[in-house]
Symmetry: C2
Amino acid sequence: MLKILECVPNISEGRDADIVQACCDAVRSVAGVTLMDYSSDENHNRSVLSFLGAPEAVVEAAVRLAKTAAERIDLRTHRGEHPRMGAVDVIPFIPLRGMDTAEAVAYSRMAAERIWAEAGMPVYYYEDSATAPHRKNLADVRRGQFEGLAEKTLLPEWQPDVGQGYHPSAGVVAVGARFPLIAFNVNLSTEDVTIADTIARTVRASGGGLACVKALGIKLHSRNVAQVSMNLTNYTVTPIYRVVELIRAEAKRWGVHIIGTELIGLTPMQALADSAAYYLQLEEYDFDRQVLENYLLEE
Amino acid sequence: MLKILECVPNISEGRDADIVQACCDAVRSVAGVTLMDYSSDENHNRSVLSFLGAPEAVVEAAVRLAKTAAERIDLRTHRGEHPRMGAVDVIPFIPLRGMDTAEAVAYSRMAAERIWAEAGMPVYYYEDSATAPHRKNLADVRRGQFEGLAEKTLLPEWQPDVGQGYHPSAGVVAVGARFPLIAFNVNLSTEDVTIADTIARTVRASGGGLACVKALGIKLHSRNVAQVSMNLTNYTVTPIYRVVELIRAEAKRWGVHIIGTELIGLTPMQALADSAAYYLQLEEYDFDRQVLENYLLEE
């Protein structure tokens, strides 16, 4: 099966369009890599790029992006609302097809070695690539931000995994493999955000609910609607339909119902097919063999 | 967008594995064509192949298949339960990606001209390629079968669209473009086939039910279960979920429910995504932009 790796790096620049374009161009310069999307947030002063392709090409594109970011972005003068510690701040590698997590971890290590050698940015491994439990969570790895690196990188428990110290203007970068994440929201027939928040606390993993679900209740002021806003971190463990049906059941407790849902950004086909198979009650359904497009993606 | 054409020819040989393999090899011999599946029915003495690829390559494979079938299959001695008129009996071309019906029709005409020139088999255009209303339906085009061709091809209204008369041993072939067809069955919580048959008559287009649905009630003897067996001839007009929900509603009338459903063979992923979007109540869902795999299939 064709191997496809996705990469969704965040860079610490969301205001200067020239620099964002230079980073996009670095990605596009690699043959066989598709830049699917990029978006900038001025308040955060940060941009997200997403691209995919054969794993070697994606690693090459990530390295070129890191070099461009390290050359063009100076964190000593960077201001923005979002925490950050590197010119390219975090580089997740996501195994999309024909690869398991272990293989994506191996590619993340290839990228990290080259980013240190060619861009001069030390690397912390995080998520599935983490070398210790306290380095798994990105928020922990990034605590203290760029300004705290001088102190942090002297601590024995916070030595970078690759390289030493930190790049004087570009800082350090978190690199790691993770499963495809689905950003999914459920809108309720109420404007009472406390109901959405109560439901969010019930369904999320940290509240004893469904594994691989992060959730919080928010108010959509534009529509005067309360929403359960979620990240589903592994749709093979907790499929979308199970989240919807549990929220539907919990909502009844408060006399409200689901008025609609939102899928933000990109979703792997299988996440939708699995939900279709549930609702249609498909017997013995084989996604790999029965979805036509899978044959187009074979090597 | 990448153009992908599918072809699902039926050949009049289901017993001699050598001949079936020779036909498969003819398809496989074209670079860029993927033979996804083939299956033979001994009673019907007939095999179905399915393959796909870039349109030009698929046309080339269909022509090579027709030449091999015309050389190896002799309808003068062919016996089987399924009606047939040609060594390769019918060649449907199905626009899967980046193409509309008109473009698939144009490729079906390219194939037909070459099949007459290179395999010596005259062609009737059918379905979306038909040149007259009475030639649209394959059953009408094939009426009288191979044995009736001497008489039929003399009738002014049944002159072949391409070529004249018929090939003495290989007959004639129906060639045409059609929309992807979904073979879909719904199993009921009853062994009473009259209930399945009553529901089938209600939901199918010919009974005043849903457009683009062909249905009949059958008994699954292996499971002692009654089934509504269907072909959905255009899932963009009548999506799978609508068929399921209508059958669910009709089944209640008889005190039965859906115990499971079956998707036979291959399905375009959009047919599943559309049903997932319905049941998940997705707002503003954009299949082309939000399903990751679509980016892998771009040119």
